[in-house]
Structures are given as structure tokens and as C-alpha cells.
Amino acid sequence: MAETHSLQDLQQPGVSSKVFVQRDYSSGTICKFQTKFPSDLESRLDKQQFEETIQTLNNLYAEAEKLGGKSYLEGCLACLTAYTIFLCMETHYEKVLKKITRYIKDQNEKIYAPRGLLLTDPIERGLRVVEITIFEDRSVGSGR
């Protein structure tokens, strides 16, 4: 029997369950997710892999919200142009969000999809959770 790890073979896979990685507010209101490894993923994923993904996401969000010369400059410039400048260019935050979307897509392709998992971009959940969908494992011989 063919290995069913490729996504093409997993047409219409059933959703077994969803795991939600909640926000970590210990550093204040900045967007940060908990790095605690959910027990449901133990059979599918390396703890280290998971932590690395979440940590990178956290770093990217921190970069988006960073207060620094660049963001102040952008804010002042926007104010002076009566915010019309945003008709032409994206805010720094939006740029980073796009970066995050690309990163998640990349992670899904490389790491999560082969394991029958799917990361959902947190922005689609209002930055509340990182949703990881666990698909039924249809490979022959798998006990799930």
C-alpha cells in the first residue's frame, strides 16, 4: 500500500481533533503564545519542533509590535500625512503579518502536513490561539 503521507492522498481527511495553543500574557499585552507542548500532539510531533515553531512565531509578533525609532517614525509620518500614506504603503505590522503567513505556510508544507497536522494562522482566529488541526491518520498500520 502506498504511504499516505502526501497531501494528495489525504483527500478529504477527517478531522480527528483540534488543539489550541493559548496566548501567554505573562509579558503583558503583547502577542505571545504559550510554548507548553500539548499532550495531544505527543504521538505526532517532536516537542522541540513545536517549541521552535511557536518561539519563532512569538519573535515575529514581537517584531511587529516593537516600539522603536522605526515605528515612531512611521507613526509620526502617518500622522503628518493625515494617515493617507497608508493608502500607498502597508504598515510595518501588516508586513510582519504577511511574513508570518508565509512562515506558517512553509512550516505546514515542510513539517506539519507530512505528519497529518495543520497549523492555522493565528490572525484568522483573532490572534487568540494557534489552532492545530489533527487529521485522521489513514496510513495503513497506523494505530490512530
Partner: protein, 444 residues
């Protein structure tokens, strides 16, 4: 009236332009446009609404809370989570309407029926909540408005004074429009114009105190990085405890100001232009993981924002089977009833001062009684006002099993249609949560 205003403003501007400098009406005009611009921006931008949890998320949270509480069947305490931020213990409360644990500084506005990040207050004058995303516009609005009122006041006084040097003082008050025969105003307009001069002075005088006071108050809040909500509750005041301090403050005033006014502006988390997808029972998982990302973000936030809201309604029949176990008002829609009724709900629910007339810092003390009001009082009270706007701004989901989207005049009795599970006295404004919460009342 408008004609009289023009009849009054024009000679005034001309007088000042001729006697002093033409820059004055120009500056006045620019200031006025700026005020208008910031007002519109404050009113029409998303304050930082947190979209409601998808049913899966809500169910997952429920499970976790049940596990934590143990299923002993006794009434669990209000749901809170404690977190330590910068050495300060902060309580995160669970929002029964939005089914999320609110981030720190977020609060649920019962007028807008949404949780708002960094909730400051709901401003009825602006017609919107003031939160993380529009606080700077609000501040610029009140600041520029203070300058404008002072400006107008100063120059109307100047006008009167200069006039009085030319005639007698009282005559100047009476005769100001008479100098300009070309304005062609009749006797009634003449009287009106005179009254306008005097009333302008009076109005300016009183509004200066309130607006300048409010600006001063918000300047203080920005400097200390607090929200109106926190200041009123005294969350970070040292009176509460010896070590009580504001964990969000950056330390110095300058950084706080910069962060509040010039910091990065996050994009809106809700999709305000999307249409409600009717009939989709479940947010289906993508069949091909890769193509999902090909879809645009807006399309997906479409789904995320709109479908879950529909699902709240479709999932109702399941939850409604648990009837209130005691006579206490219960949020029938809430799956929390499974774990036991929470009559402690009223106390567990933080209610921000929602109908705060934000005119003056003097009124801050007046807000305390309002603060104690239940959700529904302000809710039902303000609902008829909001209803026409709400009608205009959203589509009715056709297949909704629960009450029709256009709730007639927000009357509580309309909910008895729903098998009597919605108690209008419910603290949680659930009688419209899925429908009213769908679209923000401020338009796109």
C-alpha cells in the same frame, strides 16, 4: 440657522482678517477640518474588537475549565485566570458572550456587544468605543477640539474688544452685524446674529472647561499608560496595596506618550466588509492544506469572522436543552449551564462604564454609579438608539434558527420567542449576542 451662522461668521472673519491678519480665519478653518477629520476617524475605525471564539475553541476552553474545576456539580466560581505581569498579579476574566478569556486590559462593551482590546471607554459623543486602535485619534480629536474652542473664544473676545474700542462696549455687543450692510440680514437675523455672538462666547466658555479638562485627563492617562477604565476602578492605585503598580507603564512619561500616540497600529482583527455566509454548518477543514494558503487572508478572515458567529446560533439547540436549574437568570445560550448555573455571573462579569458621557474629567466620579449598572440596563436602554444603525449595517442571516436578525426595537419580550430561555435580566447581553455582535455598529 445655518444662514445666520454664515451671516455671523463671515463678517467676523472679515473683520479679523482686516483688523489683524488673514491668517486667523485660515488657521481656524484648518483646525476645524482637523477636528472633523479626527472625529470621523475615531468614529469609524475599529477600536480593536476581539472576534468571538469559534465553537471549537469555546468547547476546548470549556473542557479545560471543567477539568480544572472538577465535575463535582457544585456551582463553580466565576471564571478567572491569574497571570503575573511584570511582578503584578492580574486577573483575566472569562467573557461569557465572546467565550474567551479576555486579554489584560480588554473589556467587554455592552453597547457595542464586543470585547475591545485596551478598552478605554465607550464614547457616546463619538458613537464608538475608544480602544487600542483608535485611542490616538480620539486624543487628537479632543486635543484639537480644545485648541479650536480656545481659538474661537479668544477671537470672539478679540472681536468684541476691538469693536468696543470703536464704539461703546454694549453697543458693540449689539451692533456687530450692523456694520456690514451687504450681509442683507433682516431684523430677526440681526437679533439672531447678536445672540450668536453672545451665545458663542458663553458656549465656548463652558465647553473650554469641559473639553480642556478632558484633554488634560487623557494626557495624564497617556503619561501613566492607563486606560479610563483602569483609572476609574483604581486598578493600579497605591491605595489598593503597597506594591500595587501599573505593569504596563514603560517607566517614563515620554516613552508612554510615544507608545500610545506613535506606536505601531495593529490591523483590524475583524472582517467588517464581509458578508455572512449562510447555511454553512461547520468551518470545514481544508481538504488540501496547501491551497488553503493560496486563498487571501481576507477571504479566510471572512470565514473566520462570519461563520463562527453563525455557528453560535446553529449550535444553540444543543445547549438549550439544559434548562435553568434554579430561578436565577441564566444565560441560556451559554454552554456553561452544563457545568452548573452561575448566579455569581453578575459579579464575575466586569462591566466597563459603558454609557459614560466623556465630557469632563469632573464626571469621572459620576461614572462610578454607572459602573455598577448591570449589562442589561444600559443594554436595553441604549438599544433603541443603536437599533437603526444596526439595521443599516448588517445582513440578516437567513437560515438563523434563533431570533431574526432584525430584532424589533430590542425589546426583551422578543426573546421569549426563543423557548423562554433568554432572561432579559441576564447579565450577559446574550439576547442579541450572536446577531448584534456580528457587525460593529460603526460602519466600515
Amino acid at each position: 440657522m445655518k444662514w445666520d451662522l454664515a451671516a455671523f461668521a463671515q463678517p467676523l472673519c472679515q473683520f479679523l482678517a482686516l483688523e489683524l491678519t488673514p491668517a486667523i480665519p485660515v488657521i481656524g478653518g484648518v483646525l476645524f477640518l482637523f477636528v472633523l477629520g479626527t472625529l470621523l476617524r475615531t468614529s469609524f475605525s475599529d477600536p480593536g474588537v476581539l472576534p468571538r471564539a469559534t465553537p471549537d475553541e469555546a468547547a476546548d476552553l470549556e473542557r479545560q475549565i471543567d477539568v480544572a474545576n472538577g465535575s463535582t456539580g457544585y456551582r463553580p466560581p466565576p471564571r478567572t485566570k491569574e497571570v503575573v505581569i511584570n511582578g503584578q498579579t492580574v486577573k483575566l476574566k472569562y467573557c461569557f458572550t465572546c467565550k474567551i478569556f479576555r486579554p489584560p486590559r480588554a473589556s467587554h462593551c455592552s453597547l457595542c456587544d464586543n470585547c475591545v482590546e485596551r478598552f478605554d471607554h465607550h464614547c457616546p459623543w463619538v458613537g464608538n468605543c475608544v480602544g487600542r486602535r483608535n485611542y490616538r485619534f480620539f486624543y487628537m480629536f479632543i486635543l484639537s477640539l480644545s485648541f479650536l474652542t480656545i481659538f474661537i473664544f479668544a477671537f470672539v473676545i478679540t472681536h468684541i474688544i476691538l469693536r468696543s474700542h470703536q464704539h461703546g462696549f454694549l453697543k458693540a455687543l449689539k451692533e456687530s452685524p450692523a456694520r456690514y450692510p451687504f450681509t442683507k440680514i433682516g431684523l430677526s437675523a440681526f437679533i439672531a446674529a447678536t445672540a450668536l455672538t453672545n451665545s458663542t462666547v458663553v458656549v465656548c466658555f463652558f465647553s473650554i472647561w469641559s473639553i480642556v479638562g478632558l484633554s488634560g485627563f487623557h494626557t495624564y492617562l497617556i503619561g501613566s499608560n492607563q486606560t479610563t477604565n483602569e483609572d476609574i476602578k483604581g486598578s493600579w492605585s497605591s491605595k489598593r496595596g503597597k506594591d500595587n503598580h501599573n505593569p504596563y507603564s514603560h517607566g517614563n512619561i515620554f516613552t508612554n506618550c510615544c507608545a500610545a500616540l506613535c506606536g505601531p497600529l495593529p490591523p483590524s482583527l475583524i472582517d467588517r466588509r464581509g458578508f455572512i455566509q449562510s447555511g454553512t454548518p461547520q468551518l470545514a477543514p481544508p481538504t488540501n492544506g496547501i491551497t488553503m494558503y493560496g486563498a487571501t487572508q481576507s477571504q479566510q478572515s471572512h470565514m473566520a469572522a462570519t461563520i463562527p458567529l453563525l455557528q453560535q446560533q446553529s449550535s444553540e439547540p444543543v445547549i438549550l436543552t439544559t434548562s435553568p436549574e434554579n430561578g436565577v437568570s441564566l444565560p441560556g445560550r451559554n454552554s456553561l449551564t452544563l457545568s452548573g448555573p452561575c448566579s455569581s455571573l453578575p459579579f464575575g462579569q466586569p462591566t466597563p462604564p459603558t454609557s459614560t458621557p466623556s465630557l469632563s474629567c469632573h464626571e469621572a466620579t459620576d461614572m462610578l454609579p454607572i459602573h455598577g449598572h448591570s449589562h442589561t440596563h444600559t443594554h436595553n436602554h441604549s438599544h433603541p438608539l443603536q437599533e437603526p444603525v444596526a439595521h443599516h449595517h448588517y445582513l440578516t442571516p437567513e437560515e438563523v434558527p434563533s431570533p431574526p436578525g432584525m430584532l424589533p426595537c430590542g425589546s426583551p419580550h422578543s426573546h421569549t420567542m426563543q423557548a423562554g430561555f433568554y432572561n432579559p435580566a441576564s447579565q450577559d447581553s446574550l439576547h442579541e449576542d450572536s446577531v448584534r455582535g456580528l457587525v460593529k455598529l460603526s460602519s466600515v
